[in-house]
Symmetry: none
Subunit: 306 residues, 4 copies
Amino acid sequence: MKLPLKGIIPPIVTPLVSNTKLDTAGLKNLINHILNGGVHGIFALGTTGEATNLSYEIRKEFLDRVCEFTKGRVPVVAGITDTCFEGSLEIAEAAKNAGVDALVVSTPYYLPISQNEFIIYLEELVPLLPLPFMLYNMPSCTKMHMTINTVKKAKELGAIGIKDSSGNLPYLLALAEEFKSSPEFAVIAGSEIFIPETIIAGGHGAVAGGANLFPSVFVELYEASLVKDFERIDRLKKKLLLIEEKIYNVGAYSSKYIKTIKSALHAMGICNDYVAYPFRKFHDAKQQQIQQHLKEMEMPETVQAR
Amino acid sequence: MKLPLKGIIPPIVTPLVSNTKLDTAGLKNLINHILNGGVHGIFALGTTGEATNLSYEIRKEFLDRVCEFTKGRVPVVAGITDTCFEGSLEIAEAAKNAGVDALVVSTPYYLPISQNEFIIYLEELVPLLPLPFMLYNMPSCTKMHMTINTVKKAKELGAIGIKDSSGNLPYLLALAEEFKSSPEFAVIAGSEIFIPETIIAGGHGAVAGGANLFPSVFVELYEASLVKDFERIDRLKKKLLLIEEKIYNVGAYSSKYIKTIKSALHAMGICNDYVAYPFRKFHDAKQQQIQQHLKEMEMPETVQAR
Amino acid sequence: MKLPLKGIIPPIVTPLVSNTKLDTAGLKNLINHILNGGVHGIFALGTTGEATNLSYEIRKEFLDRVCEFTKGRVPVVAGITDTCFEGSLEIAEAAKNAGVDALVVSTPYYLPISQNEFIIYLEELVPLLPLPFMLYNMPSCTKMHMTINTVKKAKELGAIGIKDSSGNLPYLLALAEEFKSSPEFAVIAGSEIFIPETIIAGGHGAVAGGANLFPSVFVELYEASLVKDFERIDRLKKKLLLIEEKIYNVGAYSSKYIKTIKSALHAMGICNDYVAYPFRKFHDAKQQQIQQHLKEMEMPETVQAR
Amino acid sequence: MKLPLKGIIPPIVTPLVSNTKLDTAGLKNLINHILNGGVHGIFALGTTGEATNLSYEIRKEFLDRVCEFTKGRVPVVAGITDTCFEGSLEIAEAAKNAGVDALVVSTPYYLPISQNEFIIYLEELVPLLPLPFMLYNMPSCTKMHMTINTVKKAKELGAIGIKDSSGNLPYLLALAEEFKSSPEFAVIAGSEIFIPETIIAGGHGAVAGGANLFPSVFVELYEASLVKDFERIDRLKKKLLLIEEKIYNVGAYSSKYIKTIKSALHAMGICNDYVAYPFRKFHDAKQQQIQQHLKEMEMPETVQAR
């Protein structure tokens, strides 16, 4: 894998038929869908991928299938974070065997953990990892916001980048600034709406959930940001707001990103909309609302599909 | 098991030799230690028990050993909460096979979950549970605070009680009030400092981490609270503050309760002080501080041991 | 007066121009200020009211003015406790003549008195009282903490309620529990921070010193507690902590409540800040600190006033 | 009055017929009784004198009578402490008019007061006092223990001595040491059992409640202490322990000194045993016990009386 990791890297959903069975065909469709849209990488087993709600068996099988269907066309990174240390290592090994390119390490997330404890944890974990790793800052789920100092220490331990989903733009820009002199260290936005700011500040890409649905929109926004084409950026940001308004906001609570993306993918004929426990997929009314909104939105992927 | 669950129910630590090996002899000592102190039940695989940081294998073996060593002298309840639905069921089955009396169900804890989503989750989970269950409200770890309405709905689904670790005393008192007309539904304090308030308000007991160390102190506080002996309550609350000051506060961050309790148990010759990843046991200086404080504290369990 | 006494009953300060002269205009302002804030009663001549430091003449004149300005809009209760029996009766008679609704009886407070001696004292005093009376448990000033048994005996002698300022929450909750079957007997918190716990446990109100300053905040907390709106309770408790931090803690020692409340009332343009001997009002620096903090606190009463 | 004040100064009881009427004949007897016993001064309106439980009227009348009956044979000092500043001044003026030699100032005793606040209080009070004053340290009743620094500041403000009733012997000895270089400043023990220690350490006398009953015993102990006659001291201290055992301990609680002394004086035919509210005199059984014990004790005053 060429460093730094960059571009649009969708955190792919995990298509499921049931709580214990992958929707393999749906996954194949999904991967083709996003690669056709021009994405630069794939992030499997992230928050949108419902990783923590899946058994180790299904997570491992998923990584096998993702790599099988991606066929090396783009790098694949895989989340390994678990509250159980051995669980993380088990997924890491499976990721290596499946052909994953790098691991994504967030914070053990049940008991709140301090900056210092996290570094000590990395000191134990990293030597045992069979692949390079990047950080994943996700305080709304892990209750721990990695300070820049923590990120620097993690980099010394080998981190090849960070995906920041804190939603804190100044922090994200500070990361970009901090690591400018380390051109192989990737600063990746986890908030899709910050793509232009991240790229313009010297960051490298975005893990954009919406790219599951409309990969080309995100790729175009990334490219417009690289060349600082503010007019195009402006036009494309409006599309992102439309996704927020017409897709995500059909749902509620934190689970809405998973539910609405799966529901829209289902409406687009790409994969099943089953959502793993503890969450449930949309009932019909919401599903129909998503379907209706998709029609109204006039996004390249849906217009093209007609 | 006789309902309601009541009295002092220590959330026992999980004595470990390493990340993947139980300290079986230490566990036997610990169980005898707390039963000698008069506790009324045992809560295995809670937050203090590091459940989420342990593999399923070790969690299951632990439940076997806990029941083997307890020999039915008091009820044993076991935490089954996991972000993975099948994981929870796997522990629940193992708990039944081990001889556990009831299960403890908290909220899946990675992605924040809404009240309504939690109820829907329980509607899926509860019919599959092989044993009665009680709720565990632990917002600082799960990011979800069960409203009283949610607790009422869970009770309709079969919950036999709730352990509240929110640290919100008005809420805990409201629970006691709300369920007064349901004498079999246990309202259990998860904050050990609220034992008197809970009992006086009509609640039933406490899951008190400090009872790993000084079970008799907590049992006496429970008994003093039952008879509203305010002088004794006052004297015993001072002991609890001493535990806070001299034991817990030797540590820092959320993990301090695990680290300090294990360190003190080690100093008392009861079990190993190994702490599972991502956390680490105390270095020597802290360990010696704990040892010194134990000597100074003049608690029944340590004075007796000399 | 309708029983039980309930709601927010500020222990009003006694506005003074000098040690021997009331600030009558200030008192009128103060009463209008707290009634505008929605309080449910007034407690005159309590600890915050500096009763024991005032001559009988000024205490009697104060009761006349309080009733004159209150005009029966809410019940007025008045402290009569004195080390001298005849002194208590003199204030009690004056209270009746002024139009006070009930008397508040604490423990004669110089020589420590036993539970039994206090009951014998009440047996002598109560038949001579011209108005109903409630108890006032104030051990930090009287050195005597009324046991629940003592309160029960006092109730048999006619007590219509108790204000508990012991700061002992388990005791306060036990009072609420004990007298649940006596719906006309009021259990009133004297520690303003315990309002939610008191109300939720079935108690009736609070004598809240801070309600001199921010009556609406306390009234809202009382109302939120009645409906168990924990979110609002939480938000309002933060305001109470702010009052503690930004107002009370500008002072030191027990007299700080009197000094800071009077200083803040002065800064709010409500009444004079003179404090009766043996205490002295704040010097300029402290007074300015209070003024500055009031600006920063953004409380309804001060924001509104701008 | 010659300074320093010294010798045995009984804190005389206030003989009463009822709560509002002096037992004037009894007072006359009492004064003659103690002067016959050789005492060196009289302390009126102290704790044993029930000052705080008496109306101003009766306190003032009492001072008149005490001076009238003492006829200048020994100095008379009078307690003026009150929670109300004007009340203290009123008694102080009355004391001067009655012919009292010096005033005794303790701490305003309802709301706890700090060292610094007490000094500020003295700065206000002392310039208004018509007579010299001494301090009275009585923390069990006032909740404030005067530090030696506070006593030094009070001395700068004019204090002519201190009576210490803290029961803290090291403190009392430290006072004696501290003021050795101020020969006019009296260090007076308020705990009668410490007479020898006080005198030997350079202190000046004792306010001894038991000297109401057995003045000669205390005077002899004072004299034995002055000449360091340890054999006599030893014999006399046994008599003091006998008073403790046979008289004071017939009662209970803090009020026991007042009740038992009045009861014994009554049994000795000296004055009425009425005790002011909130306390009550002994019932017959206790009264008979006192009478019986007096017979058994073989004290000079009772043997002589037969």
